[in-house]
């Protein structure tokens, strides 16, 4: 009896050890880096971080990007998932096609969109060949910050909507058909069925998808680096910049801590907002 009780823990042990050694331990080291300087405990690194002239813009950019990208992705993923769930044939083919961008690294995704928006990119050559413009426009220049922003939003939406959609399609598959039929018989229009049945019963999947996406949105880096370089600083970019360009591990660690705190805060918020009371579960 005791051995069967211990078995699951025994089986989980290797993964746990792995995570402790390669995740928790380095994490503690980073935390120590952030809160110490020359061996003494201090908040100096955080002061350096926040007093930097770029900090408020960086912070604002990251938040703004998440605030724009995540709702767009949520709306798109919900509508795509609804359509995909209704398909009887070709469903997996479409899921695979939608999932293609997931197979790319975010740097590759950034480079693809750079190839579109660049001065010698697809967009410019099309516009020139169609005769809409005389000479290529520099879309991603420092004068056009909002174009850079839109390009980043586009690339992010293109790249990471599918992951939300896949989670939501799986979640919708768990909702028994009878609930929709009952709602239909009792007078709910398709929109009402979506709002009154799908959304509430999809809360667990929405929670997972949103937490995953929000955390990834705060960690956005390679797409921005490829498309905007230093024109559009974000928190992760600054972490990289302090670590490698400015060779200051302490401040870089402080940035990492900040991103962690934001991620945890939003995760807790989402867990709270989309909680399902035990008795109301499917």
């Amino acid at each position: 009896m005791r051995s069967t009780k211990a078995l699951p823990y025994f089986l989980l042990a290797p993964a746990t050890v792995f995570l402790v050694v390669f995740f928790l331990y380095p994490f503690v080291l980073v935390a120590i880096d952030a809160f110490t300087k020359g061996g003494a405990v201090t908040l100096d690194n955080f002061r350096t971080m926040t007093s930097n002239w770029k900090f408020s813009e960086t912070f604002r950019n990251t938040m703004l990007l998440a605030a724009v990208v995540v709702p767009i992705q949520l709306a798109m993923a919900l509508s795509m998932a609804t359509i995909v769930s209704k398909l009887s044939t070709g469903r997996s083919a479409i899921l695979y096609i939608f999932a293609i961008p997931l197979g790319l690294s975010d740097l590759a995704a950034g480079l693809i969109w750079l190839a579109i928006f660049e001065q010698s990119g697809f967009l410019n050559s099309w516009l020139v060949s169609l005769g809409l413009i005389d000479k290529p426009i520099m879309f991603l220049g420092y004068q056009n910050k909002w174009v850079i922003f839109i390009a980043v939003v586009l690339a992010e939406v293109w790249r990471a909507t599918a992951i939300m959609m896949v989670i939501l399609v799986a979640g919708m598959g768990l909702i028994p058909k009878e609930y929709y039929e009952a709602a239909e018989v009792f007078g709910a229009s398709p929109w009402k069925r979506f709002v009154k049945v799908t959304l509430p019963l999809l809360r667990p999947s929405l929670q997972t998808a949103l937490i995953l996406r929000v955390i990834l949105a705060f960690e956005v880096f390679a797409v921005v680096a490829a498309l905007a370089g230093t024109q559009f600083p974000v928190l992760m970019g600054e972490t990289y910049h302090w670590q490698f360009a400015l060779q200051d591990r302490g401040v870089a660690a402080a940035f990492a801590m900040l991103i962690l705190v934001i991620s945890i805060a939003f995760t807790l918020l989402l867990l709270y907002l989309l909680r399902v009371p035990k008795e109301a579960r499917l």
Partner: protein, 346 residues
């Protein structure tokens, strides 16, 4: 006020025909039971009336209005589902109120109707609970209350009692009958349980392989099956059948005895219910195989010319395995079937 007319409704799923040309009229306030084994098309027919399935051909009329092109919500129906479909994310109160909210009824009326139907179904103390906190029987009550709260013209029920245990089923059956008789709605009730069908129905439509074999009152269906299938499906134990060899004008030999039968050109089939026979001289010779005393009666399984032949006798009848019985069928209870068409011969 709602009469339901089903005119030439057929349903095909690819090469499979689930329903062949169904014609059925259900009068206002009638309690109609669709009875049949699984796969006979009874649920498909109900879903076509509900609008959850579209017929391949034919028309559905409810209350003098053609509805087969309308979505369910415009048909003036309410439905009780087999698995109840009580929304897990809503309280019992909001579940019952769901349809009324969709119709944008004022809160005072919603409240009034929810409380009244909850009282009717004896669940007024559960209104603030969620479905996850209810037993199967309570969920069933919520599902019925939700349908009744709509005050629909027609209430459709798809095997609503099949997931309840035997005792609860008996209790709910009686309650449903009372509540629906009182509510004056037209009801269509799908079941595979013949006892349920007999006890609830004003009329039973017996379905077999996508066709309605007989639509008549429970007693009529039991006493005068329109086809061999009905006799063999309804009744527990079912009807007994024996070949009847023609031996003269309206004369047939059944297991060695001469019986007066209908006008027929050739051999036909003799049928009798197990309880419609007495022991007496000159009857059908039967060898007793199994004797099962059931309290009120004794069920005796016998062998007649190598065929299983059941008889239900008074419990003080004495018989034991191996005995020879002489079973005399009551003349007015004998039924005859055409072996080719399987339909009854009058």
């Amino acid at each position: 006020m709602a009469e339901i007319e089903i005119k030439g409704v057929a349903k095909r799923f690819g090469a499979f025909t689930a329903l062949h040309q169904i014609d059925l009229t259900i009068t206002n306030q009638e309690f109609m039971v669709l009875l049949g084994a699984s796969g006979c098309g009874k649920t498909t027919l109900l879903r076509i009336i509900a609008g959850l399935e579209t017929p391949s051909e034919g028309e559905v009329w409810i209350g003098g209005r053609r509805v087969d092109h309308l979505p369910p919500r415009q048909r003036g129906i309410a439905m009780v589902f087999q698995n109840y479909a009580v929304f897990p994310h809503l309280t019992v109160y909001e579940n019952i109120a769901f349809g009324l909210r969709m119709q944008k009824k004022p809160q005072s009326e919603v409240d009034h109707r929810v409380k009244r139907t909850a009282e009717l179904m004896h669940i007024e103390q559960l209104l603030q609970r969620y479905s996850g906190q209810l037993s199967g029987g309570q969920r069933q009550r919520v599902a019925v209350a939700r349908a009744l709260a709509m005050e629909p013209d027609v209430i459709l029920m798809d095997e609503p009692l099949s997931n309840l245990d035997a005792l609860l089923r008996l209790e709910m059956r009686a309650e449903l009958k009372g509540v629906l008789a009182h509510s004056k709605t037209t009801a269509i009730y799908v079941t595979h349980d013949q006892v349920e069908a007999m006890s609830l129905a004003d009329r039973i439509a017996v379905m077999h392989q996508g066709r309605i074999v007989q639509a008549a009152s429970p007693v009529e269906v039991y006493r005068n099956p329109a086809a061999r299938f009905v006799g063999s499906f309804i009744g527990n134990p079912p009807m007994n059948f024996l070949p009847a060899t023609k031996s003269g004008e309206e004369r047939f030999i059944v297991a060695g005895s001469m019986l007066k039968g209908p006008k027929a050109s050739g051999d036909i089939e003799f049928a009798i219910r197990p309880e419609d026979m007495d022991i007496g001289p000159g009857g059908i010779p039967a060898t007793v195989r199994v004797v099962e005393p059931l309290g009120a009666h004794t069920l005796i399984t016998t062998d007649v010319e190598g065929k299983i032949f059941r008889v239900v006798l008074d419990s003080n009848a004495e018989a034991k395995t191996g005995d020879m019985l002489s079973l005399v069928p009551r003349a007015d209870r004998i039924r005859w079937f055409d072996p080719q068409s399987t339909s009854a011969i009058q």
